[in-house]
Amino acid sequence: MKLTLKELRKKLYIFATEKTIGFTLISIFLGLVVGAIFLAAAGFNPFQAYGIILRGIFSKPSYISYTIVRATPLILTGLSIAFAFKTGLFNIGAEGQYIIGAVVATAAGYFLHLPLLIHIPVVIISAVLAAGIWGGLAGYFKAKFGVHEVISTIMLNWIALYFQNFLIYTKGFQKPGGETSHSIQPTANMMILKTWKQSEAGREWLLQHPFWKDLLRTPMNWGFLIAVLMAVLVWFILNKTALGYRLRAVGFNKFAAEYGGINVNKNMIISMFIAGGLAGLAGALQVVGVSHKVTLIAAMEGYGFDGIAVALIANSSALGCILAGLLFGALKYGGAKIQPFMQAPSEVINIVIGSIVFFIAIPKLIKVILTRKNKKGGIK
């Protein structure tokens, strides 16, 4: 029995230290343990709480749908940060790029009058371009004046935030009497079966099919598919194209890249443009798929900042961002439910997320804990 326990520890050690996925899973597990400790300390049963969260995510089709809708922008902002990170840049500006994407999408969605199949692509592309330029600006500042991208993107975040608020109080853009913008035209709306589910026939059919009724209750839209597609595209660009080779070379060692004839400055701008575009896409999809407008915001909404955590949990892997984004979306959506159901503070979920990031950020800690165990096991 002792021997098998020792072997188990050894296997666990290898699992946690040599495979990044194993390491990530253990970090997530430890994060949940920390959350449980806090719940228990506050007098709540952690098993009950996690049970509620799990049921709150999976027990109904609409819950799953909500989770996915929640996860979509996080996957994209995560991708934005992961992409920049792979090319040696730290994009703190996903938040601002998201805002620019959302604002431009709203403007294009409201002011333009285009046929159904053209309107959505036009809205999305203009939002992505605008946010790309917003991100590229930080790259330009770095290339031209040596301004560190962390500084410039943080500044650009605030500019974006107040720009949105400024527009909301601008005549023509503001919905009269409200602290929001006008809603986008129906042709720019990407919610699945939006008109049908409000029509007479649709309502009738849904009444007889409770599964679909529940599912379509949610703002389900094509955004998730686009996000997944983007993850694949980012993976392809980074790993399979000459552009990706260039960007990675600059990211890993800009001196060697420069020596090899690669234009470092140009590639930094390109990288920030793509990163900005991805975060802007998150904002655009949120507008065309879920909110249909932008509202006055007092503080950052946090999609960009949560993206940093997503990218970290994904270890900057493009495909990992899909899973990390889903995890994040699920925790946020499901976690909110412990408050109404057992009066437990839903902030615990933020502790869980914070702990996961914490454990991931210090891989040494897990290694030390496991080595200790291994050594002790060895002596016995």
Binding site: K240, A242, Y245, A249, A256, Y259, G261
Partner: protein
């Protein structure tokens, strides 16, 4: 007299018996034996990646051996971490110094063992006294109040040695101590080593420089690919003997080179002026030309404008005035990309900073300048199959080890990293190959290889421009030798007529002019 007889009467302070260390399947040390004697210098000789550092890291407690045992002063010990090693009187001076730069010399030496008065108040007076005492005793003169960032590399090394002595080291491990030193500092270091042994300290000297081992060591353990090859008495052997044991075959120190008539001038520099990072003129109206089928060596002491000259040619630094021409075309102030497209290849001075993307694997590194070209990329998509075939070809041709194109450049030994760079640059089939310090930090076998590659290039009627601080290398390999001093060429001589004394004088500024 053999090793056995000579060492019979000496007291053993360290015995490492049948040390084996495996990393996964890789055997870094394969039952290696090492005895260190009181008051003697024991050298540890081997090529890059032979397992010298692994063995010493085991002794210093950084690794634990897979099997084998260690005895200190006859007692079996279990060195689990460096603190245990220090307790047993073992001190190590690493190749890369571990000093706190804004601290003073004395502060660094006492760090972690600070003398305190009551109430744990730092007693700096006693610290200074202690430092002075040990530095006087071993002839290791330093200014205890100087800041580390203000003193030379040689001085920093002394501080490291003092640090180990302050902690009561009786056995001192010096890891490639001369790699960073100037010739003058090397002479001083050897004197320090002699002073230390006179005081009864034992030294383990890790090196792949044969000359120093001959000068400084009493005994020498030779390891090759992790295996224990031999232990010899240094006074009974010579450089050739050590070299052949280290590499496993006869090594020639002179470079085999046939007479060759140089062709037309292909590359020229006229009145070049370049500034350094501090905005001071580093290259001052320099003139130079290289012909087809010749190796032009640039001799000079470090810091006389070589780096700036090189960077100006390759497009990495701005040219203030003057002209650089290849094949009659003006390439002054071109981008690196344009320079490469004019068939100039460049083996950079700093292979890890400039030459390689360490987090790319070998195959990705072989296409650094050509990644976007057919057959490596088609319509912007990388063709990994073709890249792999190409990388394998280069690995075979240039004998890069290990023979795995998916190996990260970071995990290669210095010599093999250099081989990857040379393979890439030579395969670009350049009209002009610029080699800057191409053998820095390499062992004998790898140096031989690099020199052969340069000469092969010349024999193919290409131009080669070699920049090196090693005068031996310049004299062995070049056809013509130019000497640079304070950013100017102070003389050009035919390699056949070159004399060390004369070149040395020119390098120090006493040129023909």
């Amino acid at each position: 007299m053999g090793y056995e007889e000579v060492t019979q009467s000496l007291g053993k302070v360290v015995e490492m018996k049948n040390i084996t260390k495996k990393f996964g399947d890789f055997v870094a040390n394969d039952s290696v034996n090492l005895d260190v004697f009181k008051g003697k210098v024991h050298a540890l000789l081997g090529e890059n990646g032979a397992g010298k550092s692994t063995l010493m890291n085991i002794l210093y407690g950084l690794y634990s051996p897979t099997s084998g045992e260690i005895l200190i002063n006859g007692k079996k010990v279990d060195i689990t971490n460096p603190n245990v090693a220090i307790e047993h009187g073992i001190g190590m001076v690493h190749q890369h110094f571990m000093l706190v730069k804004p601290f003073t010399v004395a502060q660094n030496i006492i760090l972690g063992r600070e003398p305190t008065s009551k109430m744990s108040v730092l007693n700096m007076k006693k610290a200074l006294k202690d430092v002075k005492e040990i530095s006087d005793r071993y002839g290791l003169y330093v200014d205890p109040n100087a800041k580390i960032e203000d003193i030379s590399v040689g001085m920093q090394q002394r501080v490291e040695i003092l640090k180990a002595l302050y902690r009561g080291a009786e056995i001192l491990i010096l890891d490639e101590p001369t790699a960073v030193l100037t010739p003058q500092e090397i002479v001083e270091l050897i004197q320090i080593i002699k002073n230390l042994t006179k005081e009864g300290k034992s030294i383990i000297l890790i090196s792949h420089k044969l000359k120093e081992i001959i000068e400084a060591a009493d005994f020498c353990l030779i390891i090759r690919r992790g295996k224990h090859i031999d232990t010899v008495v240094v006074s009974e052997t010579d450089e050739e003997g050590l070299a052949s044991k280290m590499v496993g075959r006869e090594v020639s120190f002179s470079v085999a080179k046939e007479e060759k008539e140089a062709g037309d001038e292909i590359f020229s520099i006229e009145g070049l002026v370049v500034k350094d990072n501090r905005d001071i003129i580093a290259v001052d109206k320099l003139n130079l030309s290289v012909k087809k089928g010749e190796i032009l060596g640039l001799a000079g002491i470090d810091g006389n404008g070589q780096t700036e000259l090189l960077e100006a040619i390759t497009g990495l630094r701005k040219v203030e005035s003057g002209k650089i021409k290849i094949n009659g075309e003006d390439i002054t102030n071109s981008t690196p990309f344009q320079v490469i497209s004019k068939k100039i290849s460049h083996i950079p001075e700093d292979r890890q900073k400039r030459g390689l993307v360490l987090d790319f694997d070998i195959s990705e590194n072989t296409i650094l300048e050509n990644y976007y070209k057919n057959p490596f990329a088609k319509r912007g998509v990388l063709q990994y199959d073709n890249i792999k075939v190409y990388a394998k070809e280069l690995i075979d041709k240039f004998d890069v080890r290990p023979k795995e194109e998916t190996k990260m450049a970071r995990n290669l030994s210095g010599g093999n990293q250099q081989k990857v760079i040379i393979a890439r640059e030579v395969s670009n089939d350049p009209d002009l190959l610029i080699a800057a310090q191409p053998t820095r930090g390499l062992d004998v076998g790898a140096i031989e290889f690099v020199h052969k590659s340069l000469i092969e290039q010349r024999d193919n009627n290409k131009a080669v421009f070699l920049i090196s601080f090693e005068l031996d290398e310049i004299m062995n390999v070049s056809d013509r030798i130019a000497v640079i001093y304070e950013g100017k060429i102070v003389g050009i001589v035919d390699a056949k007529d070159a004399e060390v004394e004369k070149l040395g004088l020119m390098m120090a500024g006493g040129g023909n002019e």
